[in-house]
Amino acid sequence: MERVVTINLNGNSYQLEEPAYDALRAYLARAEAALADNPDKAEIVRDLEQAIADKCAGQLGPNKTVVNAVEMMRVLEEMGPVAGEANSEAPREEGAPGYEAPRKRLYRIKEGAQISGVCSGIGAYFDIDANIIRLLFIVAALFSGGAAIIVYIALMFLLPSAHTSEEWAAAHGMPFNAQEVIDRAKREYRRFADTTAKDWRSSMRAQRRAWRDDVRAQRHAWRAPPVATPAPVGYLTRVFAGLLALVLSLIGAALLIGFLIALFSLLNTGTVWHWALPDGAPLWLAIVVLCIVYAAISSPLAHLRRSSYATASGYRYYAGGADGLITLLAMLAGGALAYQVLPDFRDWVQDALQYLRAHTS
């Protein structure tokens, strides 16, 4: 069921379904924009309205009183785009006076989102396929020991969701205009229809198969005894490895605390340890840079730590778990100690908690 809008075109009233009305309004808005410099704009628009009205009348009959969207699209297509002045028919170049390139904004985009649209939004912002961003996020998550997931969650709360078409257009950096949206939707649909759904399904099947094989192989590897048991190492080496592992764990915990402090300080005050962002640098970029720096420093350390644990304990498979557990314990212990001893740190924890409370409620 559609709402019906009654309009007045040159003295005659017509009934349009709401989408048809929207399309008409968009067409006329575009016409007026194209004719902005034309002294006879009002008259031309009136003529166009009359022509549209005549065409609409042709679609109606004694048993049909309302113009629907499909009919209106057909009418508008027959009308064709309204040409501006003869010499300005080429689209105006960006940067030409009077033309302001639409500002891009970072939004979450729910359409086609896998989780919350963060990646779609980033992809739209950079004009990159959202899947590439997703892949980057996953790779980053693997290498940063999950830090990228924290960033993702932070972005999920921080980025506004693009709800309206205007916001959607801003996310892509496109001029907003209802007709553009309609055109784009049609284009996208055609493109989708072209790349047949069949291709897509078969590639999905292949992917699923690969996943299944992968999982099976992993399960097999778990059950089987370690294939290449590390050569037995001496007692001294193991003690040394254990000590090294402990030290590395403490460093890792300190790094993680530092990362979290920097992250929250960025979110709260826009500075990292009294170092302000350069002018115009967006916050999210600083966050991404921070994550990359953290991942770059922490991931080799984590590897070193894991192999230290493995050498110390002799069990390859538990090294990761032990590492995570000890790092967590070291972090908690270090955090508790710092909370007692350092007033700055206490302030920071309270700020961070306040921030979380303010942004999650």
Binding site: N10, G11, N12, A31, A34, L35, N38, P39, D40, E43, I44, D47, L48, Q50, A51, D54, A57, E78, M79, G80, P81, V82, A83, G84, E85, A86, E89
Partner: protein, 108 residues
């Protein structure tokens, strides 16, 4: 010739004004007439292009219109050439012959 349609759109665009003046010189017409007459020719056009063009030609005082009541529906604008329009059409015709002569001579 859909391909020619695509390729020579710039040529057609430049000549649309010529075609329009020629058409209007022959008889008084309103927009639906113009559309119908042009639709079967390479100059087939749409209202979105036609109205702004007519408005410009009128502003340049090459043509004018008058309102004529119609039996069905609202009154229509019937276009006709002004004297300046006639002169322009003559000039255009001469220039067109010059162009085609030049082109045929270049080929020799």
């Amino acid at each position: 010739m859909p391909q020619a349609d695509e390729q020579f759109s710039a040529v057609r665009k430049g000549l649309l004004e010529f075609a329009l003046l020629t058409l209007i010189a022959a008889e008084r017409v309103y927009v639906a007439d113009i559309m119908a007459r042009l639709s079967a020719t390479p100059f087939a056009t749409q209202e979105g292009t036609l109205y702004p063009l007519l408005s410009r030609l009128r502003r340049e005082e090459l043509l004018d219109y008058e309102w004529v009541e119609s039996e069905a529906g609202p009154p229509r604008k019937y276009y006709s050439l002004t004297e300046r329009g006639e002169a322009r059409l003559t000039d255009l015709g001469a220039y067109w012959r010059l162009l085609t002569d030049t082109l045929s001579q270049l080929g020799r």
